[in-house]
Symmetry: C2
Subunit: 443 residues, 2 copies
């Protein structure tokens, strides 16, 4: 019997925990779910015979020691910056650790020790990062094995809403994962390779330098560059590629409207605003605009960004209630915290809402002196606001990886990401059986 410990019972954990509990009897697992909120953990476990909910706070040594020491495999869905703290305890007690977050610098330093202790510290095994790596590497390895030479790789993923959800919402977007991460997205410089040249896009340009993307069978989207694509040149083994760009996908028009928040400084998380307890939605916006007698915040934004009053950017902001005299309802906060709070009033998933994941890759390669192109895309729709497409696509890869590891089918050790065949082949195969499947086109 194996003991699995899931850390974090937040919104992305539902499908992972259900997958593990559903497989618990057949695989002979016990599944413990730990969260700083015991209630949140208990709600996910639902008195399952092989499940157990515990309170877990990484800052409390005694209880974390007990939880980690009695587990065989730990799966962390806690906030990304906490993974390395868990990893240190896993080294101490000789436990494997799986998570869906980007490899941090702290995590990297643990590779040798984890490797020498025979432990797997698997990172970036969710959706993006995760399924993107696996689905891309499957195609890239196939191209190479058939004698092709990859010259360009682009990959975009978005966590959106289904077309029939909230049809009057002009953003075509809601919070389907951590709202804070949505508000803070893009604040470090994006880096990529284009036509053999290194390219850098700062935050202030990010939502203006967008790419139009047509996803076969699903229509047009827009994409912006995501973080540091350059670091995957080595990991993907793409030493000769001329273009390498990973990005984020949004419905058309999102970026131009979001750019207003970015330009005004509404996503800044570095200082506390003054007078938050007296603040309305409109006075929040006005704090980033000059005083001009007789002009509303909306008029000032229209002037500053040369927008017409019937332009979609202003319509999006209006729909989100940014110009209303409704009190914000917070006592204090940074601009980012206040913006998140206001947006959440209309961007929280309702009972009938369904989210939708869209992923799209384009591979350009040379073979027999000819240039070829493959596009590969995935669209996954959520079941409801709990078992969202986001929860499934983040949770299943982790759950499947845990199963493979428990069954001794994974030989990789140390700090790794799932770019090799031992990960992508079985994980993509089981995802397909869950309806998470790619369409490949050869334009």
């Amino acid at each position: 019997m194996k003991n699995l410990l899931v850390l974090g019972a937040g919104r992305s954990s539902s499908s992972l925990i259900k997958y593990l509990l559903d497989n618990a009897a057949a695989c002979d697992w016990n599944v413990t779910v730990g969260d700083v909120s015991l209630n949140a953990a208990a709600e996910k476990v639902q008195n399952h015979a092989r499940g157990k909910a515990i309170r877990f706070d990484i800052n409390e040594t005694a209880s974390t020691t007990e939880a980690i020491a009695s587990a065989d495999i730990i799966i962390s869905l806690m906030p990304a910056h906490l993974h390395s703290l868990v990893a240190v305890r896993c080294l101490e007690f000789g436990k494997h650790l799986l998570n869906a977050s980007y490899v941090s610098d702290e995590m990297k330093t643990l590779h040798n020790e984890a490797d020498s202790k025979g432990l797997l510290f698997l990172n970036e095994c969710g959706l993006d990062p995760g399924i993107d790596h696996m689905s891309a590497m499957q195609v890239i390895d196939k191209i190479k094995s058939e004698g092709g030479k990859l010259v360009s790789f682009e990959s975009f993923t978005g966590g959106l809403i289904a077309p029939d959800t909230d049809p009057e919402n002009p953003w075509r977007y809601k919070f389907t994962w951590n709202p804070r991460n949505v508000v803070m997205a893009g604040q470090s410089t994006a880096k990529y390779l284009q036509g053999g040249k290194f390219k850098y896009i700062p935050y202030q340009q990010l939502f203006q330098r967008i790419t139009s993307i047509t996803v076969p069978q699903f229509g047009e989207y827009e994409g912006y560059a995501n973080r540091d694509s350059l670091k995957y040149l080595d990991t993907y083994g793409l030493t000769d590629v001329k273009t390498m760009l990973r990005g984020t996908l949004r419905n058309k028009g999102f970026c131009a409207a979001w750019n207003i928040f970015v330009q005004l400084g509404c996503c800044d998380d570095t200082y506390q605003m003054e007078g938050v307890d007296q603040m309305t939605h409109e006075s929040f916006m006005n704090a980033f605009l000059e005083e001009k007698a007789g002009k509303s915040a909306e008029q000032k934004i229209a002037e500053r960004f040369q927008l017409t009053s019937y332009g979609h950017e202003l319509k999006n902001l209006q729909w989100s209630g940014m110009f209303s005299d409704e009190p914000v309802g917070l006592k204090q906060g940074t601009p980012a915290q206040i913006l998140e709070h206001i947006l959440n009033k209309k961007w929280k998933l309702s009972a009938n809402d369904k989210d939708q994941i869209v992923m799209w890759h384009r591979f350009v390669f040379e073979k027999n002196n000819q240039q070829h192109e493959i596009q590969s895309s995935l669209v996954a729709t959520g079941s409801d606001p709990v078992f969202t497409a986001m929860a499934k696509t983040v949770g299943f890869p982790l759950g499947i990886a845990a199963k493979l590891l428990a069954q001794n089918k994974i030989s990789a050790r140390g700090v790794v990401i799932p770019t090799s065949k031992q990960f992508y082949e079985p994980i993509l195969k089981e995802l397909k059986s869950q309806g998470i499947d790619f369409i490949e086109t050869h334009p």
Copy 2:
């Protein structure tokens, strides 16, 4: 006899050191100048009978102990982040410390200990911050003492070049102080009060939200908001004021051209660029622009920012050689380091160049139910590239403060800035005798 120790022999130190040496005999001082470069220190001391040059490295305990223990007053012109390290040693040995930098959070925490030990830790006693505080408080105190109620205070300062210096330079700007600080300027959100409302300007808006300023007898300039003006509401005793804005002054057109660098991300100091050893000026610019077949960096900038080829923004960038195929000449660097290096090729002061300081305050106040306005401005021109206006206006206030302290004419103790009469009255008086004088107008 008093021993004065000046730390830092960089470009802003020439006038301070000369002032102290010139006064050394009359005041019975010995003046020691310490720098990580003994040569730099020796060059400033010039074998003066009462001067001494030493090597000073704050990271070397033994030598700094000797230098600080044998001084009575320490004046630090080292980089701002080192002041608090010096301050800790000053507490240890019971020494006064003067500097011209903003009070850091670390420095603030030393107030009580310095105060209880009877030590003065005087900060912000240069030009800006420094002369701006003193000249403003002199007028503010006078308005109050005559029964006026201040409703608005704006203050702008710029370190520019004299009108007859480098006449073909379209920026009307050169590096007259620490070039790194010029390139990094504005990267934290500016905060101020306007019409009774708190206002915030992020970096990406800063050089677009400029104010036109007419300095009496000198003409039109442009200003952008500088750092956190709000923190001076308390320090200046301005609890009822409706508008409080401190800013930076530039010649007309500077901000629109500089904004191109800001928007492209050229001032980013958070990452190392790739391939710097092969980089030309134009390929540096191209790294922040999309690849477009057949388009030069200049054409791409013109398109992105909707500039005409005869617009002054592009002329400024051309003049700085940003589109040339000249090698950058660095092996590695962040965008900010590379931009500074390129700009310095043409922005370094030449032998015949003179810099110019322009400071401008506007005070609006109510008295006898009427609204009144006072403008106060200062223009100071450098003598040459060594005894610059910047060196004089940063150095003299520190030198005069040191003299007053040595003569026991300053009673303030602890961590302070020179906003009280005991500082501004004697310091502004002696500055006036040095030709650094304000013009007051009543529009």
